[in-house]
């Protein structure tokens, strides 16, 4: 590992606890099908989906637009209920959203009339009903500091950049201390530079919690998926999308954003994913 990049290593430090603890199943998706009734008849978004996700794993769902990857993730969050089959999260059948599963929405979903601080506080206040007000304020301040927004905490979302809004949304999701974190194209709207630093921030938060949180992320960015994940789930094109292949990412953590690009295994996985996602690679193909 490149020792000159100490700061990056620090935020993604090696931790054996993760390996010991990664046996238990956090999420189990069994034979799930989701269909919606539309004026044109039944529309099946995804079908025949079975997937086990272990505690502390980071999983990416990748596929082309409209392949139902967000729908699949929403069956874990409980925002969408499967038409058939079931999703078990933390040993309970998912019947709706719950505070054990934190969600970071695609478009941040911050409440525009509340400051950064209040946006996080209102979530913390709603989930931790038994904690004192002082404890809740301490939690909110802690996570605002964690994502480096302390100097912006009294601003409204409209005064923040896209990257800052996303950090608020991530802080809000972490603040309720869910064991499962669901990210729906969390960095899709960010520029490449901001995206890169957000990846590090996400891994930092994950490390600080002994890598105990299970993270499921929807993305269409291959590099992002490999850098962050333990497994990449590639979806077929919809409608009625299924899982095309599950690609294991056996790259040692901590991963270094700069060094990883030259790792032969990274290049192999990158090629494999490209091959799975695209049929054509140039206009001559």
């Amino acid at each position: 590992m490149n020792t000159s990049n100490k700061s990056l290593n620090l935020v993604d430090s090696a931790n054996d606890f993760h390996k010991i603890n990664s046996r238990e199943t956090a999420i189990s998706i069994n034979n799930v099908e989701v269909s919606f009734s539309t004026p044109k008849g039944k529309f099946t978004a995804v079908k025949d989906i079975s997937l086990d996700i272990k505690r502390g794993e980071i999983i990416s769902l990748i596929g082309h637009s409209g392949c139902g990857k967000s729908t699949l993730m929403n069956t874990i969050s409980g925002m969408v209920l499967p038409t058939s089959g079931e999703v078990i999260a933390n040993d309970k059948v998912v019947k709706g959203p719950g505070p054990d599963r934190g969600i970071v929405f695609q478009n941040y979903s911050l409440l525009p009339w509340m400051s950064v601080y209040k946006n996080i506080f209102v979530a913390v206040d709603s989930v931790f009903k038994n904690k004192s007000t002082d404890e809740k304020h301490a939690i909110v301040n802690h996570y605002i500091e964690m994502v480096n927004l302390t100097s912006h905490k009294d601003k409204l979302p409209s005064q923040l950049s896209g990257g800052m809004k996303q950090r608020v949304a991530i802080a809000r999701a972490f603040a309720i201390n869910p064991s499962i974190l669901l990210l729906d194209e969390p960095f899709g709207a960010l520029d490449a530079l901001t995206k890169g630093s957000m990846h590090i921030e996400l891994l930092k938060l994950w490390n600080l919690d002994n890598r105990n949180k299970t993270i499921v992320m929807v993305t269409h960015d291959i590099e992002e998926a490999i850098f962050l994940s333990d497994k990449v789930v590639v979806m077929n094109n919809g409608p009625a999308a299924t899982i095309k292949k599950i690609v294991d990412v056996n790259l040692e953590r901590p991963r270094n954003k700069k060094a990883i690009a030259h790792d032969p295994e990274y290049i192999r996985i990158h090629d494999e994913l490209l091959g799975l996602l695209f049929d054509k690679f140039s206009i001559e193909d």
Partner: protein, 262 residues
């Protein structure tokens, strides 16, 4: 920035003065064309000064100063408007938040909304056995519809993004209402209130012509009976100015509550 806004308000003031001069010019033209049958600005101004010299005199039930007339109209409008809003806002919240509520109540609203509020006057008389109650009643009916429709529309248009926050973080119903539903719909509610007070102020003149007694509408009718067109014109200008001020007031309220502009 500051000198720009100063410049802007100076130019706005100049345009306003210009606009008033155009109005006075047209008015004078009408006076000349009608050979003084319609009183001109100068004659009206004299009557206005006369009326304003003692606005709050009270010489019995049918002879009160213009200030008294105006105040009693305003009290009536705000009583009716207040009562109407107290009914319209909660009903609007209910209508907007439930599809069943919307489907059930919307046809009723659509049938009753186009009815001239004056048509309710006899029913008001029957219910309250007094013209005063009946006038407030028609103002209440008037203020009902814009507020109800705007509130319902506001609540019904809460984006899924906002609703999802409530779902994802397990908001209680109370938290949802106070932290998502009301903050989102307050600008819509205030728009409704602004429209309501505007229509209510228009309807009060007609209502008071029917009810008699005291009020700016009665003052107009009384002046017609006394054949004083100057007094009618003074009343029209006062009604217009008060209406404008009411609208400006609610506009300021609207700006204070619109979170996007801060």
């Amino acid at each position: 920035m500051n000198s720009f806004s100063l410049k802007n308000s100076i130019s706005n003031a100049l345009y306003f003065i210009g606009s008033m001069l155009v109005l006075i010019g047209l008015w004078q033209l009408v006076t000349i064309l009608t050979k003084n049958e319609i009183p001109g600005p100068v004659a009206t101004w004299q009557v206005f000064m006369e009326l304003m010299s003692e606005p709050f005199y009270d010489r019995g039930p049918n002879d009160k100063g213009i200030g008294n007339q105006l105040v009693s109209s305003l009290i009536r409008v705000f009583s009716g408007f207040g009562a109407g809003s107290i009914v319209a806002i909660p009903l609007g919240l209910l209508m907007g938040s439930s599809k069943t509520g919307m489907k059930l109540l919307n046809p009723i609203v659509q049938i009753l909304r186009p009815v001239s509020p004056l048509a309710w006057f006899p029913l008001g008389l029957l219910a309250f056995k007094a013209a005063e109650g009946a006038t407030i009643f028609i103002i209440m009916i008037t203020s009902l519809w814009p507020t109800l429709i705007n509130t319902a529309f506001g609540v019904a248009s809460i984006p899924d993004d906002h609703k999802n926050v409530g779902k994802a973080f397990g908001f209680s119903t109370w938290k949802y209402i106070t932290k998502i539903m009301l903050p989102y719909s307050i600008p819509h509610i205030i728009t409704g209130l602004r429209l309501s007070i505007g229509v209510a102020w228009m309807v009060i003149v007609a209502g008071e012509m029917l009810s008699g007694g005291v009020g700016i509408g009665f003052f107009v009718w009384d002046s017609w009976n006394a054949l004083s067109l100057e007094r009618i014109l003074v009343a029209i200008l006062i009604i217009g100015t008060v209406g404008l001020l009411l609208d400006k007031g609610f506009n300021a309220l609207q700006n204070a509550f619109s979170y996007n502009q801060k």
